[in-house]
Amino acid sequence: MKNFNLEKAGWLFMRGSGAVLIVLIFTHLSVNLLSDGGVKAIDFAFVAGKLANPFWQWFDVTLLWLALIHGANGMRTVINDYVLREKFRKGLLVALVASTALLIVMGTLVVFTLDPCPVGSPAELLPSFCPVA
């Protein structure tokens, strides 16, 4: 741990993750907003349909992790820059880390545990591949 330097690691990570994020986000945006129907097409069926596919599972999880860590690290810099009252600054950083961690865990769980065909839901809301109950 002695040679670990958060500033340097953060700097490198921002650039590395940025480069990857550009691919992920543009794909994400075109699939979700540009393909047939655009925003209007987004509903449970659409999402669950995507997440039933391991490719999209891993894609979304990567996007989630990278974007949240990238964003959180960026926010850390911003907070360090402008919040000069030490206590307040520490407080914000704790909140930032906590909320980011929470969202990462939650998001990951959602992606991997989502049942695309929850029992008892009306079939018209579910992806087309669900067995009709």
Binding site: E7, K8, W11, L12, D81, Y82
Partner: protein, 242 residues
């Protein structure tokens, strides 16, 4: 020469941010109308005001030709040397705003406390460190010499550091001037302690705080490619030495 200049005299309004800690609680702006010639510089205007109108106006200056680094100030919102800013290069149909550089404690009018700036400079070991004891000079090829030529030009005027948005935030960042001076030694083939300086600049307030806003490069009156020098130091930290 003087006679040609005589012809093209015109009136310029200067709005100067004044502050006298002995009498004022807050800085305030004051207008001066000054008769100028096209070859005059902002420093000449300040002198005219100080010498003919208001002797209390305080600012630093010495060489008057951009080599001593005394008179960095904010002119129309940008850091420049007053002695290198020609009136004819400013838009004089509008008033010219002059105020102290930002981010260092304001002492009086255009004078700030430079100590924090020099403290950062001293921290990066700005001196040659070598164990070699050559009989005469060290041998250094013109190419090795060229490697750090740009950063030897620094006159420690602080125009760069006090134009840096990151420095303004909390004043803790080493700032571009200190990094420029570290660069001058890190890339000097005669120096043996580059790694120490790189470690210093690898710290929390070091090079990683630079957000490449280029204000420093734009402000440098010596035309040093400051952001490029900082980038080179970042890369040296990543790669480990030169």
């Amino acid at each position: 020469m003087s006679d040609i200049a005589e012809v093209q005299s015109f009136t310029v309004t200067f709005i100067i941010r004044r502050f006298n800690p002995e009498t004022d609680t807050e800085p305030y702006w004051q207008d001066f109308d000054v008769q100028m010639y096209s070859t005059d510089r902002v420093l000449d205007a300040l002198h005219k005001i100080k010498w003919d109108v208001d002797g209390t106006l305080s600012f630093r200056r010495s060489c008057a030709h951009g080599i001593c680094g005394s008179d960095a100030m904010r002119i129309n919102g940008r850091n420049r040397l007053a002695c290198k800013t020609l009136i004819k290069d400013l838009d004089i149909s509008k008033p010219v705003y002059v105020e102290a550089i930002k981010g260092l404690p304001l002492e009086k009018d255009l004078i700030v406390d430079m100590e924090p700036f020099f403290a950062a400079y001293r921290e990066i070991n700005p001196f040659l460190q070598t164990s070699a004891k050559p009989e005469k000079e060290h041998i250094q090829s013109p190419e090795q010499r060229a490697r750090f030529d740009d950063t030897t030009k620094c006159i420690l005027c602080a125009a760069c550091t006090t134009s840096c948005p990151v420095f303004w935030t909390d004043g803790q960042y080493f700032g571009p001037a200190a990094i420029v001076n570290a660069h001058r030694f890190i890339f000097d083939s005669r120096d043996e302690e580059a790694q120490v300086r790189l470690d210093i600049l690898n710290s929390k307030e070091g090079v990683w705080r630079c957000r490449t806003t280029f204000n420093c490069s734009e402000a440098c009156p010596r035309g040093i490619e400051v952001t490029k020098a900082i980038a080179e130091v970042k890369q040296a930290v990543l790669r480990g030495v030169r």
